[in-house]
């Protein structure tokens, strides 16, 4: 009996409110991610191979840029090291988001085959469980590759470092990662309604990351407006990187927007959170 009392005391201790939920979610995420890492390690050779492949395949994007520069000296007014700077930041931010919650694009499949139900009977937030689903360390390949290209850019470029510019570097990577995470979450939320929408989601996530590897000047103004004001990917690297590189801003935006990335990231995450709740609620009322 004493055991039962203690057990229920522990059970009720889960703190209510948003901070409590976040803590619970992170805990569940950690528990599940570790299980996936251990599952992967059951096939060590395969893990090494897929990690290397991930590194190599994602690197092909940069090889493509290198090939272009064998015949031109600048792209959209940017030199090779400057493009590498954009590329590295985009890959790093996207790579981190992909590493952390990239498997959320599989949600539609879980809805279709009914395995989402097995997550709904667990005492942990569903978002955390879905985010940790199929956690794959091989995705470090993209992160590593992005970091290497960024390293190359930083050693080659002659940037006049100031306090704000230095501060902007980590802020950019973290905010960028958060913005991409919110795209993953919102895309997954949409899959509650349209279960075969993972390709649409890929267009925004992988497509967006590739877009950001090139300077804004090479794209049509309307597209640039779209990724600034509608789906604010421009805040991942274009705007803050323009500040660091001392380049003119796209769309003649004011100078301070370079520092708006964290705010944009917070807003995106909040919106994605709302979308997730709506999606999950619709699933629980329709069952499909």
């Amino acid at each position: 009996m004493a055991d039962t009392v203690r057990a229920s005391a522990v059970r009720e201790s889960a703190a209510p409110g948003l901070p409590g939920r976040v803590r619970e979610g992170l805990r569940a995420y950690g528990l599940i991610a570790v299980m996936w890492i251990r599952s992967t390690m059951a096939y060590r050779a395969s893990f090494v191979l897929t990690t290397f492949t991930n590194f190599a395949v994602t690197g092909l994007d940069f090889i493509a840029i290198l090939l272009m520069f064998s015949s031109v000296d600048a792209l959209g007014g940017f030199s090779l090291p400057e493009i590498a700077f954009l590329y590295g930041l985009s890959s790093l931010a996207f790579g981190l988001a992909d590493l952390l919650i990239g498997s959320m694009e599989r949600l539609g499949r879980r809805v279709r085959d009914g395995t989402l139900d097995t997550l709904l009977v667990r005492p942990a937030p569903v978002l955390a469980q879905v985010a940790a689903d199929r956690f794959a360390l091989r995705r470090l390949g993209r992160v590593t590759q992005g970091a290497l290209v960024l390293g190359y850019a930083l050693t080659t470029l002659d940037i006049d470092w100031t306090g704000p510019k230095l501060l902007l570097m980590p802020v950019m990577v973290v905010s960028g990662g958060a913005i991409f995470c919110s795209v993953f979450v919102a895309g997954a939320a949409f899959q509650f309604v349209a279960q075969d929408a993972s390709e649409v989601q890929n267009a925004f996530t992988y497509g967006g990351a590739t877009l950001l590897q090139y300077p804004p000047a090479v794209f049509a103004q309307d597209l640039v407006r779209g990724v600034t004001f509608v789906l604010p990917l421009a805040f991942v690297n274009w705007l803050p990187a323009s500040y660091v590189l001392g380049r003119p801003y796209p769309l003649d935006l004011p100078r301070w927007v370079a520092f708006a990335s964290p705010l944009v990231a917070v807003a995106c995450c909040a919106l994605a959170g709302v979308a997730w709740r709506v999606g999950l609620r619709s699933y629980r009322s329709t069952g499909s």
């Binding site: 599952s39 009977v121 009322s285 329709t286 499909s288």
Partner: protein, 328 residues
Amino acid sequence: MTGSESGFIELDGVEKVFEVRKKTGFMKRERRRVRAVDSISFRVARGEMVGYIGPNGAGKSTTIKMLTGILTPSAGRLRVAGIDPSRDRRRLAHRIGVVFGQRTTLWWDLPLVDSYRLMHRMYRIPDARYRENLDRLVELLDLGELLDVPVRQLSLGQRMRGDIAAALLHDPEVLYLDEPTIGLDVVSKARVREFLRELNAERGTTVLLTTHDLQDIEQLCKRVMVIDHGRLMYDGPLAGLHEAGESERTLVVDLERELPPIEAPAPARVVRVDGPRQWLAFPAAESAAPLVARIAAEYPLVDLSVREPDIEAVIAKMYAEQADRAVS
């Protein structure tokens, strides 16, 4: 305690309406409302063991999903241990165990015990309690030798036992089983049933199970609820169900060639002929052996099989009887 005497599980006029969109052409969709569960009310007392049966698409799974908090009811009142499942899903999760017969929750590539360790931490089960429960479940479900085996190497029956143990580590007060014996061989079925009986008797765990296998019900449940077209058709002892639908078994025989219907001793009779294959119905209570011997002696028999009465047949008979009663 929160669960009042009247019922541990309580449903009052619970409904679930789905809006189904069907493609009727390019970009054209037709909306249709489907009443998957239609005003169901019942109570299950603490420690009861109830069979919940019905044909595919009758509303069984939908009911279970509402009871576990996966789905929100469209109307009506629903309580499990005093908790409203859809509102307090995660609090309820600590008090219920769920086994989905066809979807394992075990970790495919990891040793069985790793899945249990995850449950230990996810449900925050106190260490001593976890060890005690694991030891007991390992003993009762005979999992000792399997703990260190990767789940992908387990047989279907072993995996089902593993899944049942995983659902019980946190001492749930109620266990939902969705088709727990589906696809299992006879020995595995018997073992699972034996375990459920002991669990119910020793721990007083309330058990609600859905199944297609009438034998599950016969051997486990004193009380049966039959659902069809979203409505509760029957709620009472199993004996009453048998009365409602006097069941027959079917003998399927493959002959060497096409022949006129087999002349079988009454009450056995041929109900269907399709080329060299014939179907014979005979009372479920009788042995098939004399019938088989007779046919084997007089006809060129190639192969045969016996089919148990299925729930669909029993329910079909129930309908017929109800119609009769309505007429008289």
